[in-house]
Symmetry: D2
């Protein structure tokens, strides 16, 4: 079972097409990634203390269905691959049993001071890797 974060769709998330504005699914996914990291002990304070920062390098996302106002959605975050300074997370948005979007998000760790690539903290790498092996 991959990590999942429940979210509510508010009017701010929709557009004049009457559905969620497709760009906003990336926000939903980032919230879930953030909560995954927090659940592993890597909230903002820990990450700041390590002088590291994560930037998104690559996103591949497919839109299969549409969430609507007031929907309760379930956003997953499942590490697929972890290297020294990068990791890929698979993320899906579900409404009940319906898959609405399916994405791979690649994040890189960079130094907060100069934005150059830097290895992520060892225990973060270990924990993310452990999530892969558990499956």
């Amino acid at each position: 079972m991959s990590f999942a974060h429940e979210q509510r769709v508010y009017i701010e998330d929709t557009d004049a097409g009457g559905i969620v504005y497709y760009v906003n699914y990336l926000k939903f996914m980032e919230r879930a990634r953030t909560e995954l990291m927090r659940s592993l002990g890597f909230g903002k304070n820990r990450i700041f203390n390590d002088g590291v920062m994560f930037v998104v390098r690559d996103v591949q996302i497919k839109y299969l269905g549409s969430a609507m106002l007031d929907d309760l959605i379930r956003v997953t975050a499942e590490p697929l691959e972890v290297r020294g300074a990068r990791f890929i997370v698979r993320q899906q948005v579900w409404r009940l049993g319906e898959l609405l979007t399916d994405a791979n998000v690649e994040c890189a760790s960079v130094a907060r001071s100069n934005q150059l690539p830097i290895r992520m903290p060892a225990d973060m790498r270990e924990q993310l890797t452990a999530l892969i092996n558990k499956e």
Copy 2:
């Protein structure tokens, strides 16, 4: 004639009600304030060099009509009052002859280093004041 900035309404600005999401008018207004400041010579670089930063302290906004997708709107920015560390700008959003929103936005200058109130650069105060007197 007050300063005005033309903007286009895109799908990102709308909501499921089929009209512009009311919160976004504040973004339109900030764009116009930013362009007013740039037109006076106070783009980002100048402001950063002065070690100052502007924060919004108070907004009063009335919604009278609704902009829609693809509308071309005209957003005004007209200084109403300028003090040492604060200024109030009146801002309106128009679509042709129709007034859609009418707001007063109060901004304060704070030091970039510690966020404490600080007097704005003298030439900025003078230029904003000159705009008031011209009317």
Copy 3:
């Protein structure tokens, strides 16, 4: 005790000043208003069935402090005044004991069909009014 809704601040909510982008507090407040209405039985479906829609007519908001990334905030929604086709909600954003923003938001009920003012459902008016009297 007024209704309150807890929310987390994500990176999407911040700006280059390092704090929450002031416009986004209005989104936080709308989420809390929506949850207040849902708690009273007026979720999207009920409101749609009544052929009514709510639009914001007037906002007065004061910014007193700044929320930051990862903050857990508490957003209140407290009806102040209820008339046939309008109501005013006082909304505050708190981080622990610190008041960050304080606003009055006036909403009007309009017909979904033609956007003209229309009385809100009687039981909604009664429930909102009951919240005022309870205090």
Copy 4:
């Protein structure tokens, strides 16, 4: 030469990392796609009259560099492939000679009435196809 649309980066586009929030590049790209369509005669009114609506089905985006507050960026929109009910647009964001993001965006035409796939208007397909052949 592909179609390009100049845009300014405002504070609303940035995040606490001090750079443009990566999700917002998709908004920049949609603005450029919209302007490309408008330049071909397919503004909102024309598209509405045809009973058609476009939805994004797939995005692949690489982040190579970061735009910052006040940057003037150039967003391209270049059709790569056009079929009956779908087209793929390559979109890049440039700051002077620096490529910041590079994406392929696949859009599908659906009927406004029921959201089912529908062929796009013939003249739209022809014009988008002509742009490919011109290169």
